[in-house]
């Protein structure tokens, strides 16, 4: 239990994943079930987190709301990681023209600030979970590719790679057996932070009305809640807390993993 940050992060993440997977089991009511006579009721014994403007149970909606957020997070990270790892490793390992071209493309893509392109893309492609994943991955892969390139550049000139080449090992085998496994550690750390940013981005898109329409999502719940901020603040408070907890979990997990994988810190 030395690395408390890692454990705290992993526990929160596990709890949130469990909440999302078993939402139908844990939810006391169906997330779309309406009870119009009890609209805006405050947290109580029957409805722990209260009810929204249509009398829907907020706790059930918060539990189900974890699904699109985590799905987008996992989808975006996997998609971006795959593209980033492939492009970055090839650019860094091959060097030369391919690497030069890669750096120019990165320059252009990094000129787009954060979520801006995702907003424009989702707006035109239409709001759906798949489209959000694509929109976030269009820029999302760049960060992973930069890390993979840097690692591949450094690993490519190490002695064990030269030794493998001297022994007649093929380039593809060197890449898959020696280069890629050795550059994964920093990418895993980045993936954890990437989950946190993807979840925040998905919630922002949902808040702007660009998220999945037919399922409860935290961003959309906050957006709906802001219309009734003075009479029913609980509509806004609870989904926001859920976002914060899950983002905190992935951030702590990332910090903990970084600590665990950094040999200097381990010695200290």
């Amino acid at each position: 239990m030395k690395n408390r940050t890692l454990w705290a992060g992993a526990s929160i993440v596990a709890l949130c994943l469990g909440m999302a997977v078993f939402a139908p089991v844990f939810s006391p009511y169906p997330p779309q079930g309406q009870e119009l006579t009890r609209a805006f009721s405050t947290p109580g014994r029957d409805h722990w987190l209260g009810q929204d403007r249509l009398g829907r149970d907020i706790l059930s909606r918060v539990l189900f709301g974890a699904r699109p957020s985590l799905l987008v997070g996992i989808g975006t990270v996997m998609f971006s990681l795959f593209i980033g790892l492939t492009v970055g490793t090839i650019a860094g390992y091959s060097k030369g023209l391919g690497d030069e071209l890669f750096m120019r493309v990165v320059d252009i893509l990094q000129a787009f600030p954060g979520i801006l392109l995702s907003i424009a893309l989702t707006a035109f492609m239409g709001p759906s979970i798949m489209n959000i994943i694509i929109a976030l991955s269009v820029l999302g892969w760049v960060g992973y590719a930069r890390v993979a390139r840097g690692q591949a550049l450094s690993i490519g000139s190490r002695e064990y790679i030269l030794a493998a080449r001297a022994m007649g090992t093929g380039e593809a085998r060197i890449l898959f057996r020696h280069v890629i496994p050795n550059l994964l550690a920093p990418l895993i750390v980045q993936a954890s932070f990437g989950m946190a940013s993807a979840i925040l981005a998905e919630s922002s898109l949902s808040f702007l009305g660009l998220g999945a329409q037919d399922v409860p999502s935290w961003g959309k719940m906050i957006s709906e809640g802001t219309e009734f901020l003075s009479q029913a603040p609980h509509l806004t408070i609870f989904p926001g807390m859920a976002i914060m907890i899950v983002v905190l979990g992935f951030t702590l997990l990332g910090e903990g993993l970084r600590e665990a994988m950094d040999p200097h810190r381990q010695i200290a």
């Binding site: 893509l109 000129a111 600030p113 907003i119 707006a123 919630s203 702007l208 976002i243």
Partner: protein, 307 residues
Amino acid sequence: MKRFIFKRFLLAIPVIVGVSTLVFLLIHMIPGNPVEVMLGERALPADAERLRNELGLDRPLSIQYLNFLSGLARGNMGVSFFYRKPVLPAILERYPATLELTAASMCLALIIALPLGLLSARRPYSSTDRLSMLFSLFGATMPSFWLGPLLILIFAIHFDWLPVSGRENALSLILPSVTLGLGLSAILSRMIRSGLLEVLDQGYITAARARGAGESKVFLLHALRNALIPLITILGIQFGALLSGAIVTETIFSWPGIGRLLVQAIEARDYPLVQGCVLVIAISYIIVNLAVDILYAVVDPRVRYEK
């Protein structure tokens, strides 16, 4: 120095052209038909054809691209479908409000981050440092579209100290800039802390102490000055984050800037206006980063002499 500035300007041109090309391609290649959006699904084919011709959408993509680039070079970003007026003046009308909000948020972030970073670095791993770390963690994980409504609830609805929304007077700027700047202050305070701790390990700090300089003088005159140099780059990068963050913040507070205009353009499916807003924000980001590069070279001469 002049050569360095000239070189940086030249390097920025292909990036601007690349960004413009990417925006054009993305907007033109993704599914969705602007004519159908403007006229509705039941429009007559003849009307649809006339509008396609009027908007130039019936021409080959390459011709549309060349027209787009030549228009852009002349400052013409097309005509808004919704407002029925040129895109660029509509955007420039809203630009000062966004700049005002972004600048205020950045100043606020620095005002919070500087003392926090200083205190943390002065006594690392103390309770003050841990508290500051906790603040950073919450600042970085708290979504602005949640923080904004909470601030409205407390300071505008409950205490009635500040306006809920709009841009009437200086007071209207407080809540939006806190919403936008708090996350940045969390990042900056940790960067100032780690920058200071790194600088405090350097030989010239030991030398200053050996010469008998007081701890405050060492800290503020020698350490802080050098620790702040890398912060210039971070501020440049974060400016882009603030600009895109402004989209959400402006929506929450009905702040009449580009962010709100972009959201309105998205809702109205106003393709030229969305394209224009995205481009203006991206180009602003490139220009700020160019300015930051030049400023960095002024502050740190080593940068100028690198190849």
